[in-house]
Amino acid sequence: MRTIGIMNRVLKELFRDKRTLALMFVAPILVMLLMSVIFNTNASTDVSVGTVSVSQKLNKEMGGIKHVTVKSYDTKQDAKKALNDEKVDAIIKKNGNNYSLTYANTDSTKTATVKLAFKNVLTATSISQLKSALKQSTKATVKLQAQLQALQKQQTAASAMTGSVTAAKQNAAKQATAAKAQSTNHATKSTSQSTPKITNHYVYGDKDTGYFAKMLPILMGFFVFFFVFLISGMALLKERTTGTLDRLLATPVKRSSIVFGYMLSYGVLAVIQTIVIVLTTVWLLGIEVVGSMASVVVINLILALVALAFGILLSTFANSEFQMMQFIPLVIIPQVFFSGIIPLDSMADWVKAISYIIPLKYSGEAVNDIIMRGTSIWNLGFDISILLIFLVGLTILNVIGLKRYRKV
């Protein structure tokens, strides 16, 4: 009952603070909109490709594609130098029948553009090769048929007088079969030639570097975490500095009721915020969510509660709003680094170990799985239980922490 009372009061206060409310809902949308615009304009950037010992035809085909310029280099060294000097964004080199592609990959959209262009060109050339091969084999077949007919004529002419008819017939049949086999062989050969092996090399990163798509789930979590952390921390700090916390604790209210009251109210806020952010990303930014949106909201709700508990806990170590702000570089910024925006695999082991205590890492992983792979929430038990452990642990700490202000 008291918990509900506290929840109602906190919500009332929150919804009367229009500016803070606007910050919570408008700021994330604004930032995400901005980011998507900035990242998406890259998609139409022009790319230049350096080629080494590639056929004239392929060069021409590549150059014909929109936004792609081709520069031909004589040696691999020249091309490499151009790549390092940022004159070209990728190098295509032909080794025998195979192609080796090297991408600068500093901009994943450029890499994607080159990849797509090359694939298209390759398909186009292989189709034309296939066509010519088909033509050749058709010609050969026609020729063979003519030979066969001629042979048959000869045989009919000779059949009346000689007894070697059978032998000749057999001979002709053999010849025809051989010729047919030959032409088939030829066709198969040309087909196998037209699918060369392609090796991809990346100067920076790897093939998974798809920036905005990968950042989005983490960004969503980040906004939820950041705002709930800051606003709830500030709210409790204000209760403490104005003395309302003391007054509240001078009533028979349980310490846990205060913590749960805050959790419920901020939980409500987090649900609304997450829904707004998810809907914005899906409809406004056109991001595809493979899995269930409800699951995304659930994960973010748990994350928000962790942020809330974290904010309340840390607010006890701050004496003013400004001191609360000082936790941003200490607590919020490292979260971003370890959240998975930057691939963790490439980090040193001890650095990687830090990421295990970062709540944003788990929510980021889980939401990533839901949005990009459509994983069911029931298969994300690990991430969710870690988040819940954070939540329970921090909540217990908060209930105990309030003992500082009232001993019972």
């Binding site: 008291r2 009061r9 009367r16 104005t242 007054r247 509240l248 028979p252 349980k254 202000y405 001993k407």
Partner: protein
């Protein structure tokens, strides 16, 4: 006189190495207003905090309603008003009263009556629907007092209740406090206003963590051979007047 409402015996309180209260003996009986006066830093607020169970005594005993503090359930029977106003600015006066009423455990059926009564005592009925952020300093103080009066608690602990309240209203409040006493309820009050100290039944003089005098104002004045409680206070502090 019956069972004491507040019974502090040889109470001591230390924060780390710092001794704030040395040896406090203080009783508040039913139907009595006890004034706690003393210079800043004498430990008045600490006495109140121990009585409310926000701090635990380092030595001696602190009993309220014959129960050793801290005790959460007992807090429902105590009305507390702190030195700071401690109000929610963005809520209206009525919302503040209702919220704290709920926290105190006032039944829903009695809520309206209790809230209206408390508001009437402090003369805030007309402004109840205004937000506290629009209140004057005096109005906030009155609302704060109204919150303490909610639920007609058997014991009121008031920390500087009349700071910033104009004389007419102050008199009205003291009349109400007198009425509360006559109902057999008790009040522990700290004050800086010395003429208020004349209005209480017994005065406790707190100096350096010790109660150096605890008696009725008349007896104290006689004992120190002075005309007012203010002079008693100054003399006790060792300041020549």
């Amino acid at each position: 006189m019956g069972q004491a409402m507040i019974d502090l015996q040889h109470l001591a309180k230390k924060f780390g190495d710092q001794t704030v209260l040395k040896d406090i003996n203080l009783t508040v009986n039913p139907g009595e207003i006890v004034g706690l006066i003393g210079p800043s830093g004498a430990g008045k607020s600490t006495v109140i905090k121990v009585a409310l169970g926000m701090e635990v005594a380092s030595g001696g005993s602190a009993k309220v309603f014959d129960t050793t503090m801290p005790n959460r359930e007992l807090l429902g029977r105590i009305g507390y008003m702190a030195q700071t106003d401690a109000l929610y600015d963005s809520l209206s006066g009525l919302e503040n009263l209702k919220f704290f009423g709920l926290m105190k455990g006032i039944a829903k059926a009695d809520m309206k009556k209790e809230v209206m009564h408390a508001a009437e005592v402090v003369d805030l009925t007309a402004d109840l629907n205004k937000r506290v952020s629009g209140y004057s300093g005096g109005m906030m103080r009155r609302l704060s007092l109204a919150i303490a009066l909610l639920g007609s608690p058997e014991l009121l602990i008031l920390d500087e209740p009349t700071v910033g309240i104009d004389p007419a209203l102050r008199r009205q409040i003291w009349t109400e406090l007198g009425r509360i006493r006559d109902e057999g309820r008790s009040i522990l009050i700290t004050t800086h206003v010395m003429d208020e100290a004349e209005l209480v039944d017994r005065v406790a003089l707190l100096l350096d963590g010790e109660v150096i005098a605890f008696d009725t104002p008349a007896v104290l004045k006689k004992q120190y051979a002075v005309a007012t409680i203010e002079d008693v206070f100054l003399k006790a502090e060792g300041v020549e007047s």
